[in-house]
Amino acid sequence: MSTIWTLASGTFGEAIRRKILLVFLFVAIALMVIFFAFSEFSVREDLTITKSTGLGIITLAGVFISVILGINLIPNEIDKRTIYTILSKPVRRHEFLIGKFLGGLITVLTNTVLMGAVFIVGVWIKQKNPEWAIWEGVLMTFFQLMLLNALALLFSVFVSPFVNFFLTFFIYIVGSMSSVTESLATPDPHKSPFVVYLFKFIHSAIPNFGNFNIQNPLIYPGTVVINMTQYIVQNMMYAITYTAILMLIAILIFDKREV
């Protein structure tokens, strides 16, 4: 465990040295801009667009951080040949992978929390009262990014960073369109059964990043979600389980890979 923690803290430290937290600074500036950008609209429109855009920017920035971190975690170590030094010590391959993943995750968490805090303070100032429910959105964003980070890490053990970038983004976009894949998987007399089963498989097997976009009930508190806490917990379980699957596959592939 201490090996994993050492590797994780090392990865986090390296990310800080690479000034990855500067992303937070840019996002904070972008958030401050949006707090004033829509003030000419009606109050309701202004708040709707501000909250949605703010949460969207946090997600998007987090997605870029996760993907760029995730695709480089392993290839960087191989290119710089530092992996030989690490694996020659009593560090098992799965410990190395998990340590790198956790290091990336801590970096993503730090950024997400800082971006979320700036956003909440901004909304507080704008609407003159705090809206703590936004943390639920930030929490869901973090679990979405955890899943994405694991996906990027999985691909990084067997494809180049360039291919990995597009592959991860492709799956992220398909996975974000849960409504579409689900709709396409709904039986319809005009659809071929093959198409229905294909999309049913895609909807069930591809990580559904769209599950984590809960901006709508945060923007409209009147939205009836049967049990928001239960919904959030189910999504957390989904993210953790899927991350476990991706990490196990990564471990299985990395174990066989020649480095």
């Binding site: 829509f38 309701r44 667009i49 998007l60 579409v180 689900e182 379980m237």
Partner: protein
């Protein structure tokens, strides 16, 4: 890694997909409460790619908000046709944006008009469809119920039993229903159907509800004024119930007559008489009053294809497939000095003049022109007329055109028990309307 460990890990991976599939099955229906549903590829193809991707990665509400701002610009530019697909896309992207549904439905009801500012009635089924969709996605928001009820209650449909249904649904389904818009509307709809005891009970309840809300928050100005209005209406209803029981007998003969003339192709002249007696200077507390002929009543007129029935369950779509071959014109004519008349030049909105924007196509072979006067319709009958002819015409009669069926014209069979209204229908052919020269119909 040992081979046995590898096999075990592969088995674990495969087994973990079972809870993933199960969780997705559980999550999907919950996600539908705040995500677009009934998604079909035609809706997707209507969305530009950059918007579709933006919506997919978490900017759905932001994009919907910005599209709504753009829609507002279309409105101010008078580009009304462009608003319909925008409303469709926005409500699809953001099914909880209440303003878009309500404004979109109002737009369909009121903003498409002919040259004389009469609204195009072909849009009404789609307006109702949009509001029903809004209710489906936001069952607890009372604004939807009050708006759909008002569309039935006032000018557009005058289907008071359906208005009552929607007002009652609003009070039942919305924990924070609007006492003024839902409650007052319901009480007035009871009045329009002659259910005076229910109206009085509703006003009594509203006085208490407004008072309680006002006491909870003394700065609540709408509830303070709502309470004053409810108290006034309660007081008036109680007294009117008492006096109208006496004053409406024996029924007064309104001697209704109507004549329709084609004076040129697609130009119709309607004229007639209706002698309504009402009260002058009625003092409700003392019953002091004078009966005299009064102005202020309105006769409704509707020209439509003889076989047209308003479609009941249309969907609000991108294009709406507005029936281009259907002709409907509805208006109301005020009665002054016991007579009414109005000229309708429908040729200005015919295909030969208005082209694609024609409202009156006259494609059907047969038409009806119906004139009616419903004493229960608040927009057509002032209270001083009702003082004599009653809530729903119990004090009114006519030698030729009294309709006691209770069926409200051009509704899906909505009935008001005890309703006595005036109704006359002319049956015309396409040649009768399109022909030249003067022709009179009786």
């Amino acid at each position: 890694m040992k081979p046995a460990t590898r096999v075990l890990l592969i088995v674990i991976v495969l087994l973990l997909f079972v809870p993933i599939a199960c969780l997705q099955e559980i999550i999907d229906p919950q996600r539908h409460t705040f995500e677009p549903k009934n998604l079909h590829t035609d809706k997707l193809s209507a969305l530009p790619v950059e918007f579709m991707l933006g919506a997919a990665v978490g900017f759905r509400e932001a994009i919907a908000g910005l599209l709504w701002v753009r829609t507002d610009q279309f409105f101010h530019q008078g580009d009304y046709e462009a608003i319909i697909p925008m409303v469709r896309i926005i409500t699809w992207l953001d099914p909880h944006n209440v303003d878009v549904y309500l404004t979109g439905a109002w737009h369909l009801d009121y903003n498409f008009t002919d040259s004389d500012q009469r609204s195009d009635r072909r849009f009404i089924p789609y307006s109702l469809a949009l509001l029903r969709e809004g209710i489906e996605n936001n069952p607890g928001v009372s604004d939807f119920y009050s708006d759909i009820a008002f569309t039935h209650y006032f000018r557009k449909l005058q289907d008071f039993p359906m208005a009552i249904y929607w007002f009652e649904q609003g009070a039942k389904n919305c924990p924070n229903w609007d006492y003024t818009r839902i409650g007052h509307g319901l009480a007035h709809a009871y009045e329009a159907t002659g259910q005076v005891d229910q109206a009085i009970a509703e006003w009594q309840q509203l006085v208490q509800l407004h008072e309680a809300a006002y006491k909870r928050d003394p700065h609540d100005t709408p509830d303070r004024s709502g309470m004053q209005v409810a108290e006034k209406n309660l007081h008036e209803n109680i007294l009117r119930k008492k006096w109208r029981l006496i004053d409406t007998q024996p029924p007064v003969n309104v001697h209704f007559s109507a004549q329709l003339e084609r004076i040129a192709p697609m130009v119709l002249l309607v004229k007639g008489t209706m002698n309504v007696i009402g009260s002058k200077n009625f003092i409700l507390e003392t019953h002091a009053h004078t009966w005299a002929p009064i102005d202020g009543c309105r006769v409704e007129i509707r020209l439509q294809d003889a076989d047209y029935k308003m479609p009941a369950n249309v969907q609000f779509n991108m294009s709406n497939n507005l029936p281009q071959d259907v002709t409907i014109m509805q208006d109301s004519i005020s009665v002054r000095g016991g007579t009414f008349d109005r000229k309708y030049d429908l040729s200005k909105d015919s295909p030969s003049v208005a082209g694609d924007k024609a409202i009156y196509n006259f494609a059907a072979k047969k038409y009806t022109v119906t004139l009616w006067f419903n004493p229960g319709t608040p927009a057509d009958t002032p209270p001083d007329a009702q003082d004599r002819i009653g809530w729903i015409g119990e004090g009114m009669t006519d030698d030729n055109y009294l309709d006691k069926s209770g069926i409200l014209p051009f509704t899906a069979g909505s009935k008001v028990n005890g309703l006595r209204m005036i109704k006359k229908t002319f049956y015309l052919t396409q040649d009768d309307i399109l022909g030249s020269g003067v022709k009179t119909f009786n």
